[in-house]
Subunit: 231 residues, 2 copies
DNA sequence: CGAAACACGTGAGAC
DNA sequence: TGTCTCACGTGTTTC
């Protein structure tokens, strides 16, 4: 599958194909405007370009979610998105009805209940679970930006590199760092993450690509990637 | 947000009617082409117009379905469509797990034994998933779309959980897993990642939120998150 | 100002 | 032949 796409030009339906990141299509997708006002519109065009790219990303994400939804809804009548959504709604309602049914069936027989079976998860309210999920959020240290003092140390030994990061354990610095590793396409040999109190320590051993000639280059590449990744 | 649509100065009063069902559509849609060649392009323009209208109809329908979905999914983290789809998938998987749980609880009528179906460790507690893309599966339950042959094992000990994942080292499964941890808001105590040949082994120790009553729930939550995360 | 999310019009492919 | 569905680039709005 997927031979090089010379003259691809459209095509590209949404089949799954999965990795959008890897081979990444740097294809001549940027034919766009041949000519334009030549005055000071260059920054304009660049901004446009990033906009186009962002929108493309968004579409891709949405389509992945559609596919994921399709994989959990057992029978989807047709292939189009509207039908999928409709079937998902009816399916959810079916599941809910079924649960209600089961619960009522379960509560009814009051005799000789053996209903312990949940030793360790007493967890108060052994009654029906109801309502999913924490939903505690609200405050939830979200908020983007907020560089939480990351200290980065880099060491190169032969073809291997050691990245050592120490930071506040907020906003999932490990997720952020892993995203950076992915975007930099570093091959990871080993990683170890430890949380101690409100500090998070991360050690990662990678294979250093040849284009990074010294530790400083490697470190600044990581830092700039980190600063770009949204959390 | 005030209303737009200042009475459009008529001109051609083509039966546009619009019938917009839902809320206001603010847009001032009918500016379109001001003037054009009047020769033989009229049919062209009419055809175009009907196309535009049809597409508008389609979009309206889709949005209506989105709204319907939103009304059956109890808690949607954010307001945007992608989050809605993702949460719908998660919710469906939770419902499935819940049903499974209730059913197993129900099929156990008069066993005088305390046959601890919880301690035994069979009970699918630490089963292995190895699934590859839904759609081919058939059974109603356990339709989790784990990607590139991820084998997931989950163990709960007290308030801590151990997640052990083995997969092909392609497409940065560690990044994906970390993203899942973040989205599930799990607090990470420790993590260890090792690459051996083309296999990637990941062990993560987390604090298990109370709402996860057993290993099965925890595992299916992780799987469904994984299936939603695009890489 | 950028970044994110959306709706829109339009070209293209399927049947 | 139209009709349906989709992806794309773009304008606009919100924070």
């Amino acid at each position: 599958m997927a031979i090089g796409n010379l003259l691809s030009e459209s095509g590209n339906s949404d089949f799954e194909n999965d990795d959008s990141s890897t081979i990444n299509n740097v294809v001549n997708r940027s034919i766009k405007r041949g000519k334009k006002g030549d005055s000071s519109t260059i920054s304009r065009e660049m901004a446009m370009d990033v906009h186009v790219e962002a929108e493309r990303k968004r579409r891709e994400k949405l389509n992945h979610r559609f596919y994921a939804l399709r994989s959990v809804v057992p029978y989807v009548s047709k292939m189009d998105k509207a039908s999928l959504l409709g079937d998902a709604v009816t399916y959810i309602n079916e599941l809910k009805a079924k649960i209600k049914n089961l619960e009522s069936k379960l509560i009814e027989p009051q005799k000789k209940h053996i209903l312990m079976e949940q030793h360790d998860s007493h967890s108060a309210s052994s009654t029906i679970v109801t309502e999913q999920y924490g939903a505690n959020n609200k405050s939830l240290f979200s908020s983007n930006g907020a560089r939480n003092g990351m200290e980065i140390e880099v060491k190169i030994i032969g073809s291997e590199g050691v990245i050592r990061v120490q930071s506040m354990d907020m906003n999932y610095p490990c997720t952020r760092l892993m995203n950076a590793m992915k975007e930099l396409k570093f091959q990871i040999y080993h990683a170890s993450i430890s949380s101690v109190k409100d500090l998070l320590l991360q050690d990662i051993v990678i294979r250093v690509p040849e284009e990074f000639l010294n530790e400083e280059m490697l470190k600044s590449a990581i830092i700039s990637k980190l600063s770009v990744i949204e959390n």
